[in-house]
Symmetry: C2
Amino acid sequence: MSKLRAALAALLLAGMGAWSTAALAQSDPLPSWNDGKAKQAILAFVGKVTQEGGADFVRPEQRIATFDNDGTLWAEQPIYFQVQFAFDEVKRLVAQRPELKGKEPYRSVIARDIKGLTAGGGKGLLQVMAATHAGMTTEDFAGTVGSWLASARHPTKQRPYTEMVYQPQLELLAYLRANGFKTFIVSGGGIEFMRVFAEKAYGIPPEQVVGSTGVVTFRLDANGKPQLFKEAKVEFVDDGPGKPVGINRLIGRRPILAFGNSDGDLQMLQYTAAGQGARLALIVHHTDAEREWAYDRTSPIGKLDKALDEATAKGWTIVDMKMDWKTIFPVGR
Amino acid sequence: MSKLRAALAALLLAGMGAWSTAALAQSDPLPSWNDGKAKQAILAFVGKVTQEGGADFVRPEQRIATFDNDGTLWAEQPIYFQVQFAFDEVKRLVAQRPELKGKEPYRSVIARDIKGLTAGGGKGLLQVMAATHAGMTTEDFAGTVGSWLASARHPTKQRPYTEMVYQPQLELLAYLRANGFKTFIVSGGGIEFMRVFAEKAYGIPPEQVVGSTGVVTFRLDANGKPQLFKEAKVEFVDDGPGKPVGINRLIGRRPILAFGNSDGDLQMLQYTAAGQGARLALIVHHTDAEREWAYDRTSPIGKLDKALDEATAKGWTIVDMKMDWKTIFPVGR
């Protein structure tokens, strides 16, 4: 039976492949991308790595694509959305227990010490998150994030945060997956924060999210039920040189495509670009002050300086948001 | 176009589903399993969680199945295969550099201090691995494991280690995947060791392998190429209470099915069984001294004592190797 099944599966897959190639030839898989160097680089790359028998063919299981989240898949201004979540959580917790008001990290958060919290790749923020959620089960934490996402609105765009995602990137993720890629998030953000919305927002399941982690401990809860509890300690910061380490830890293969937007993505891009065979390294350059935000070398959030120089020097693909993206946010959601 | 594509995809998937259901109805998906309680429990569980509209239906993305490796997917006697690899590596390294002979951990290994190396969930072994491979890139390490697997033979069965896998489990993995499950390894073994053979041996890709890890650092190599280097330090032991922690870290969902064989799997089984909805917890009981090995409560390798009591008390499924498995190892490979 196994040979029959394999043959049938191969036929079905071949049929799907032929049909999807035909469908893609007839219509544009990236309608929110303007024609230009960036779009052409993506189409050319996907075309060559999927062409069986071609010099650059990559087997489907090796088609690993990694995306930063903040500033690459969704916006990050005027403040990382997870920082806003932490602030809102602190307010919620202090309202419940006013005695916390004078204690750290609550005091700093209430004083809005954003600089301190976002310094060092967001480690300060992670510490606030860890401290404010210590003793909570991972499942309760996911519930808290879900409630916040359902009600919170972006301070200037007035949209739910999950609608602050970039339409061109949603198309790119779908296009890559239709071409046999496995898409991953690799972000400095908290892994358990992102896993709550990544599947619905991006079609990326929890097991394909790489992020910063806090210490988690297994023990029985008060009812004798086995649970995982969050501890007040940062374990791993998935930023800068931590990104290739996080990729190795969770994915175990070197990506063939990586997409970032800041210096925190530099090492992921280097690691990806340096592999053997065809590689594509991409950077979103935030150049659109009207529709989104314009910032790079001096921004405290999403600073893009060294990685912009290296992208230019090495010929990585720089996506100019203003020029390359027809639409920024999803319409009519 | 997206509606057309979605409709076509749905048709194709429906076709595949109908065809595979029909195929399964006609033939036994688990031919190496004898009819008995264990096989019936598996078939009943898969049947109910995949029955759309049924009370126990589980959406495909939630169908997470986790398997221990040593003693569950492949054999572990007379010594964990990774320990044998470490021993052989030490011999290889000492042959190249005789001055290492008197130094730790080389000296203990040469003295075959197995008890010390396998104590504490294999942390001693992981330390040997870390020490002997410190300074090597992750990619070079994978090459070393691959070479060893290609030439090493099991000391008594004389088979390559990758043929010491259990045929009934290969069938179970394939059956679960055919029913929309995502299959993961969750083992105390080294993650980078297992990732070398898991895809070929079990059809489990590197990103679905959870294991113990050593510290890895990103830096440029002597040629300026970005690489990940292994350090001489254990980072995380994915054993006992570490298993649910590793599952949370890499998978981010509570499994609905878990399969182990020793006390090191107890917490993974507890964590899995305690989730809401239908769950299946299984244990391989090594009872076959003739075809494999017979051991449990007092074995230094794969000790099964507390987990055997808890399995009995909680009604988990105990797979009696001698009674339940028609074949142990793949035939004619």
